[in-house]
C-alpha cells in the first residue's frame, strides 16, 4: 500500500519528528511504500480563496508552490496520514495551510450526499485518511475528540473518510500495525 505522511510539525528537531521517522520505517518494514512530506520545507503559499483552481486552471492551484507535491502525493496514496502536534486545541496552522490548498482536488459543482450539500468529486478515487496527533502536555481528550470531529468532516468533503485517530504517545509498532489493518 502507498502511504503519504503529511508532516505538519514546523519544529525541525522535536520528539514528534523522531516518532514520525520511526513510524515511517516500521511501515516500510511491513512492505508499504511511504512518502513523508515535511510541509515546513515545501514553501506553501496558502489559499487566498480566489477560486482559480475551480474556474481558471481547473484542478490546479494558480499559485506555483509546493502544494502541487502535496496534492499529487494524496492522489497517489491509498492512505494519507495527517500528522501534527496539537497547538491551542487543534492541528497546526502549517497542516491547515496544506489542507486549504487541497480544494483543487474537488470540483465546484454542488451535489447532495448523505442528505447534505457537498461539492462534486474530481477524481475517481481518493485515499483513506487518518490522523496522528502529538497531544503534548496541553491537549486533553476533548481537544483530540474535537480535532477528530473537524477532520472527519474535512475528509468527507474530500470525498473520503477518516479511518482513525492515533496519538503519538502510543507505541509506533502498534500504530504501524493498525495503519496496515485499516487500508
Amino acid at each position: 500500500m502507498n502511504i503519504a505522511i503529511l508532516n505538519g510539525d514546523s519544529e525541525a528537531a522535536s520528539p514528534f519528528q523522531a516518532y514520525l521517522l520511526k513510524l515511517s520505517q516500521k511501515l516500510k518494514d511491513r512492505g508499504h511504500t511511504v512518502i513523508k512530506l515535511d510541509l515546513a520545507t515545501l514553501n506553501l503559499k496558502g489559499c487566498s480563496g480566489c477560486w482559480g483552481c475551480w474556474v481558471k486552471t481547473p484542478g490546479e492551484c494558480v499559485k506555483h508552490d509546493g502544494s502541487a507535491t502535496v496534492r499529487r502525493a494524496i492522489i497517489d496514496s491509498d492512505l494519507t496520514l495527517l500528522a501534527s502536534p496539537i497547538t491551542m486545541g487543534f492541528t497546526s496552522a502549517l497542516l491547515k495551510r496544506a489542507a486549504d490548498q487541497m480544494v483543487p482536488l474537488i470540483h465546484p459543482y454542488f451535489v447532495v450526499e448523505g442528505g447534505e450539500i457537498h461539492h462534486r468529486a474530481r477524481y475517481a478515487r481518493y485515499p483513506l485518511m487518518a490522523l496522528l496527533l502529538d497531544a503534548g502536555e496541553q491537549a486533553d481528550a476533548e481537544d483530540i475528540e474535537m480535532t477528530t470531529a473537524i477532520w472527519r468532516r474535512t475528509a468527507r468533503n474530500l470525498k473520503t473518510r477518516l479511518a482513525f485517530t492515533a496519538v503519538a504517545s502510543r507505541d509506533a509498532e502498534e500504530v504501524a500495525n493498525e495503519l496496515t489493518l485499516v487500508a
Partner: protein, 229 residues
Amino acid sequence: MNSLLLLNGSPRGERSNSIKMLERIAEGWRRKGGTVEALHLARRDQFARAVTAFAEAETVLLGMPLYTDAMPAVVKEYIEALMPRVAAAKAGLRNPTLGFLVQSGFPEARHSRPVVRYLEKLAARLGSRYAGTIVRGGGGALEWMPEQANKKLWQQLRVLGEQLARDGQFGAAELKAIAGRERLGPLTVMLATLACKLPLTQSMWNKMLKENGVWERRFDAPYGPAFRP
C-alpha cells in the same frame, strides 16, 4: 465597554464576504455609541497589530469563512500567536470578551458546528467571556445577490452588533434565526438532488469557467483518473 476589535479572518481580506457581514455587526455596535478598530488578518502588518491589540481589547469579534470545514490557515496562525495569552490568563490577567462569525457557502449550519465547538472552547482556554458564534450559510451568494435581497441579513447582523455592545453577548434567539436550518429536510433533499442535476444550479460556476475560456477543461484531473458519474 465601548471599543470593539473587529478581526477579519478571510484570506480574501477587503474583498471578502466575511468583512461585508462583519461591517454590519460593527454598524450595530456603533449605534450603541461604541468605536471599532477593524483589521484584516490576511495583511501581514495588520496581523501583527491584531496580536498586540488583543491584549488591550475589551471585546474582540473574529470573523471567518469556513475553509475545509474549519478556520482558514491564517486564523489558526493568529490563534497560535495568542498562546502567550493563555499563560497570561492563568497568571490572573484579563482577556477580552470573544465573539465569532463563521460563514460558509453551504446552506446548512451543520457544516460549521464542529468548528463552533472548537471556538467556544478557545474562549474558555483564553479565560475569555464567550459572546457566542454567529453561523451563517449561503455566504458565497452574497456576491451575486442584489443589495435589496440581503437587507434582512444586514438588519439581523446590526441587531447582533447592538446586542454585543449592550449585553456583551449575542442573543440566543437571534443566533438561531440567522443560522437558519441546521440540516436539510427530506423534501429539500429531494428537490436539491434534482436541482443539482440542472445546469441552472451550477450556472454561476459555468459562467466563470466560460468567461475564463476553460469550460472544456472543467473536469480536468491532473493527478489521476477523473471521476465519471
